[in-house]
């Protein structure tokens, strides 16, 4: 078995090492040409894996999951250089990893995963991003697409009216006191459940139970000010609330366990920690610029500024980052509450009561986790920036509800095509620190997308395809046209075929609320 990882033992029992011979591939030269730095050497390992060779001051190699088409899509993009940059950071364990939805970000590439040793490694806010714990959650309702059709427009309007969207959107009906905000920062989704924003059972279906060990005192006053009235709001850009239904099932037994039988209506939510998270990131980037100089860490990109994991700077950042992550968990919990209220208003109270949370997962986060690396158990700080945790069946951190099937993984696509539900695998656990892709990934710049969309009426086009759009801004809709994204089915094909995620079901959108 050709395998690009060095993280642990492979599922089938074969072993591998950093020095694994790399298969020469016909595409090698092309990949070299399309990266901006001619010194970057990329070789094909197998149909879904590419190795970025170690050179210069890199502490490890890069490992990119992609097929030939997705690699071609990276042409002109700086993301492979960013994979290389991350490989320079001190204490990196295993390769600098990129998922098939990789695209050019700032600091880490979007779709990047990197783990750092708890003693020699670092934590970098640039490896998490501004929208801390940006993530997705999926609800399954008891109604079918046939029940929904006659009332679809009413539900879309109701969701648009009850869940504020757009830039700086805020809730006039829920302005937190400072004490309540501290409760949110400390207890995340638990705080929301205690306040009556959803049933207790929801907590079983959230990564880390919807609460990370946080220190609200590490969050600045300005960040808290930005967070006071934004909890329960969508925000802008690629964030959304999407009503859809299950249109394909690949594993009936697992899909049924997740409440995702054919034709079942779902609600997909994508949002994060809003202005509070952006401010936490900004505050700690300032701290980390100073820390990098103080600890003598050489950086290939200033946005990768970082601090050693044991340092005071790192502890403060992790305390604040977890607080922002809790804010995001609470935010998505409140959005679910308002989605359920919308279902109650348009259908019935019973419909809302029988609407279950399938799962809620972060895709911008850094977490201490235990992994087996080259046969040894090691505690590492895993950075996932635009990547999803994908723990395998049997993992002790999973709630008993899903421990036998593995962690549900939610992969939203663009607003016009489809989204996927997968489960985590042993392959992901051994090769990618229990991580997989997070979405489709952009292939067109926003500027390009706007230009393409300008002469068209995208909302009308989508309506003709059976998808209602409710949006705060036309520009957002134009920038988010389906063709601006890679085909998420291709991204999911790669992770499924590479064994770092396993397909369960596909969802078809019918109504989308955007910022």
């Amino acid at each position: 078995m050709a395998c690009g990882g060095c993280v642990g033992s492979v599922v089938d029992g074969s072993t591998f090492s950093l020095g694994l011979p790399v298969a020469e591939a016909v595409d090698n030269r092309h990949i070299r040409d399309m990266t901006s730095a001619s010194s970057i050497k990329v070789s094909r390992i197998d149909a879904y894996r590419w190795r970025v060779e170690r050179s210069g001051r890199m502490n490890t190699y890069g490992l990119i999951f992609a097929d030939s088409d997705l690699m071609h899509d990276l042409e002109g993009d700086q993301c492979i250089q960013q994979v290389v940059n991350v490989a320079h950071l001190p204490g990196i364990v295993g390769p600098s990893i990129a998922m098939p939805d990789i695209h050019w970000g700032y600091g880490f590439p979007i779709g990047g995963v990197a783990a750092f040793d708890e003693h020699d490694g670092v934590v970098s806010p640039g490896g998490v991003g501004y929208d801390i714990n940006c993530g997705v959650r999926l609800l399954s309702t008891p109604i079918t697409i046939d029940d929904l059709r006659p009332k679809l427009a009413s539900l879309a309007d109701k969701l648009h009216a009850t869940i504020p969207s757009g830039v700086g959107s805020s809730r006039s009906d829920l302005k937190l006191t400072k004490a309540e905000l501290n409760g949110v920062l400390e207890r995340g989704a638990e705080w929301a459940i205690d306040r009556g924003f959803g049933p207790e059972r929801d907590l079983e279906c959230i990564e880390a139970g919807g609460r990370l060990s946080a220190d609200p005192d590490c969050v600045s006053t300005k960040a808290k000010q930005r967070g006071l009235n934004q909890v329960g709001t969508v925000g802008s850009g690629n964030h959304f609330v999407e009503v859809g239904y299950v249109d394909e099932v690949y594993r009936v037994d697992v899909a049924n366990r997740l409440g995702l039988s054919l034709g079942k209506v779902t609600v997909f939510i994508h949002s994060g920690s809003r202005g509070l998270g952006y401010q936490v990131c900004d505050d700690y980037l300032d701290t980390m610029v100073r820390a990098s100089a103080k600890y003598g860490i050489e950086l290939p990109d200033k946005q990768l500024c970082c601090a050693p994991l044991g340092s005071e700077e790192a502890k403060s950042y992790l305390g604040a980052m977890n607080a922002a992550a809790n804010y995001a968990f609470a935010n998505r919990q409140l959005m679910s509450y308002y989605a359920r209220r919308g279902l109650a208003a348009v259908f019935s109270r019973e419909t809302a009561d029988q609407t279950d949370l399938v799962y809620d997962v972060a895709h911008n986060i850094a977490k201490y986790e235990t992994h087996i690396v080259e046969g040894k158990t090691r505690r590492v700080c895993v950075h996932r920036k635009g990547a999803t945790r994908a723990f395998p069946p049997g993992h002790r951190e999973l709630n008993p509800r899903y421990r036998d099937v593995g962690q549900p993984v939610l992969i939203p696509g663009d607003m016009g095509r489809y989204s996927f539900v997968l489960t985590g695998t042993a392959g992901a656990y051994s090769e990618t620190f229990g991580s997989t892709c997070h979405g489709a990934g952009r292939r067109m710049s926003r500027h390009q997308a706007k230009k393409v969309a300008r002469p068209r009426n995208v909302v009308k086009e989508m309506e003709q395809r059976g998808i209602l759009i409710r949006a705060a801004s036309r520009r957002t809709v134009d920038e988010e046209i389906p063709e601006a994204y890679k085909d998420v089915a291709k991204v999911v094909d790669v992770v499924h075929s590479a064994g770092i995620g396993r397909r369960v079901a596909r969802l078809q959108p019918v109504a989308v609320v955007k910022g």
Binding site: Y106, Y130, V167, R226, Q279, H447
Partner: protein, 137 residues
């Protein structure tokens, strides 16, 4: 006014050129106005004092952009123009005039989360100043 956006897959690369450092900050204010309300008219009915210090001109510029973003996020304040009192590569003292976002005349734009340090540069060049900032959308 001289600024343009360079191609970037997911975010926005902003390039500004100015005859002076003051031009650069004035242009940054205009860009932030355009990025928050598009072409809509912004009147000067409200003002905020901005006093910032930084170790270098690039740090000063991203702190300045950040300050404008925070005013927009917290109070929906949209900048119209800038009156500079003191400016050096490490310090700015200025008043930004503008008004709060108004649905009736302003078109909402996608949210700018932050000004990043990725490929950040602010340099004195022949004939003025040149800056590159990647904005996270």
């Amino acid at each position: 006014m001289s600024y343009r956006f360079l191609p970037h897959t997911a975010d926005l690369i902003l390039e500004i050129s100015g005859a002076s450092l003051a031009d650069l900050f004035n242009d940054a204010t205009s860009v932030m106005r355009a990025l928050t309300v598009g072409n809509g008219l912004v009147e000067a009915t409200e003002s905020h004092l901005i006093e910032l210090q930084a170790s270098s001109p690039d740090e000063l510029l991203i702190r300045f952009i950040r300050e404008l973003l925070v005013h927009f996020q917290i109070d929906t304040f949209v900048p119209a123009n800038l009156v500079i009192y003191r400016l050096s590569p490490s310090r700015i003292s200025a008043t930004v005039h503008g008004e709060r976002f108004d649905d009736s005349k302003h078109e909402p734009q996608p949210e700018i989360k932050a000004a990043t340090r990725h490929r950040l540069s602010v340099e004195e060049v022949e004939g003025g100043w040149h800056a590159v900032v990647v904005l996270d959308l």
